[in-house]
Subunit: 288 residues, 2 copies
């Protein structure tokens, strides 16, 4: 199953040969400086984040401008235009508010990914028509109006609801990317296993593309990067085809490339060796 | 399936709740100082390696004394006694020579693991009677006299030969630990994937315990520890229950513990937190 995203200059195929990195940095949550700039309508930090993430290897950029007291629709419009002015990758339009999603979709040239919908009927009704209208793809979160279940079967019921609702509007399965939900191991030591089991079922029953905010799993747990590395790797073996991650976090980038190598997907170890040489070159440049 | 190993003081259950670390350091390959000491019959380095590995978390110690020009049987006898004099963990008696295996098994109190047999009829005839005679368990390597195949199906034929030959001598399946063979990704970019596929089949068809020399996979490849981490993690998801690894390599130790956490096997994250606190304490001690 291939989910096609487009910018005017590039196509990105989720589910094709390589793992797709959706850069998560353009998001004011826990980034006060970015939040302040967004509220003032200053897009310099957004542009810098966009450039830096693409240079670090992001294939798609998530754009979220949800800060307290902001005019989210107007700011989303500005942020999408700002990102497009400095990079040429497809975008992931990220908001809890339908009007901000629509503002982002309207501003975005190409085919975007919408972040996100869930199985709550109200949410489906608000978001899926936008996905259809703007010919976008959409992230479907595996929960519904009753909340988030710790039972993979219940999460699968939510996935089915989303698949059916999308089909009813003529949105193809290739335009759905499922998020099976990862929560902190600090609150439930089985939270990663629940997510992995749900992913196995999505893969077997629907063969849909899947995305995840990987690093949530280690929130509040010591030695986060070790856990993130291993969890990302396990997710990829279970069918994860893209991740919302920080491309500046080299341990994450190494984790997905090492996993592609170990799973036999990196022919002649080309990407791995290229990444290694790039690391050496950067280290040399830093010394000089 | 549980493979029980014993020292006079301890039992180790492979395939029970936790991943079992077989310390690989007592081996003169690429350790000239140890080789020289062994040739002189000096067991101080062997003792130091034994203590250090157990302190670092090894559950079982591999003992290999195969250096050029050595009386391997006599040295194995001395080395096994030396290790038992300073530690109380079960042993893995490791030699290509049946007489050295027998010397080690004779010297070893408890129930040892023999490293190793393969599906070559000559090898089976030489090693399995010793396993039976000394009531040991044995590592079965997934190849035969025709060599090592890159086809998982052919590796499975070797596994079947070993399972059948053991059964014919009355050695139970619980006393077989299969090594599906990991070779360098540097020579074949699919070598890890071939191993993982073979492991899946061993798990499904026989549910046997499995062991692996994990770090082979990264031999000659840049950034070895990243690859080892991810490969060990994938192997565990495919049924690896013990590994022949260097317990002093903290990236390996973190990899198996993070994997147990992510797979939901570390209840209330107890081991992970314990390891983290131990690391902090060691860092504090190093500063003081």
């Amino acid at each position: 199953m291939i989910t096609l995203l487009k910018s005017p200059q590039r196509e990105v195929k989720i589910g094709d040969s390589g793992f797709i990195v959706i850069g998560e940095r353009i998001n004011p949550t826990r980034r006060k400086k970015l939040a302040d700039a967004l509220i003032k309508g200053d897009m310099e930090q957004v542009k810098a984040d966009a450039i830096e993430q693409v240079q670090a290897g992001a294939h798609v950029l998530d754009v979220n401008v949800g800060a307290g007291g902001i005019d989210e629709a107007a700011t989303m419009d500005m942020a999408v235009r700002a990102v497009m002015s400095v990079t040429d990758v497809p975008l992931c339009i990220d908001s809890a508010k339908p009007d901000a999603l629509e503002a982002g979709l309207k501003a975005c040239a190409g085919k975007a990914l919408v972040n996100s919908v869930n199985a709550d009927p109200e949410k489906l009704k608000a978001v899926l028509p936008l996905v259809k209208k703007y010919n976008a793809a959409v992230i479907g979160l595996a929960y519904d109006e009753k909340g988030i279940s710790e039972n993979p079967e219940v999460r699968m019921t939510a996935v089915k609801t989303i698949v059916d609702a999308a089909a009813a509007l003529g949105i193809g399965r290739e335009d759905l990317v499922i998020d099976c939900l990862a929560f902190s191991l600090g609150t439930n030591h089985r939270s990663a296993a629940i997510c992995l089991e749900t992913m196995r079922q999505v893969k077997t029953q629907y063969d849909l593309n899947m995305v995840l905010g990987v690093s949530n799993v280690s929130f509040g747990v010591p030695n986060r990067s070790d856990i993130n590395t291993v969890f990302l790797s396990q997710c990829m073996a279970n069918g994860l085809t893209c991740g919302i991650i920080n491309p500046l976090d080299t341990s994450m980038m190494k984790a997905f490339m090492a996993t592609e190598l170990v799973l036999g997907r990196d022919k002649h170890s080309r990407n791995w060796n290229k990444y290694y040489r790039r690391g050496l070159a950067l280290a040399e440049a830093a010394k000089a």
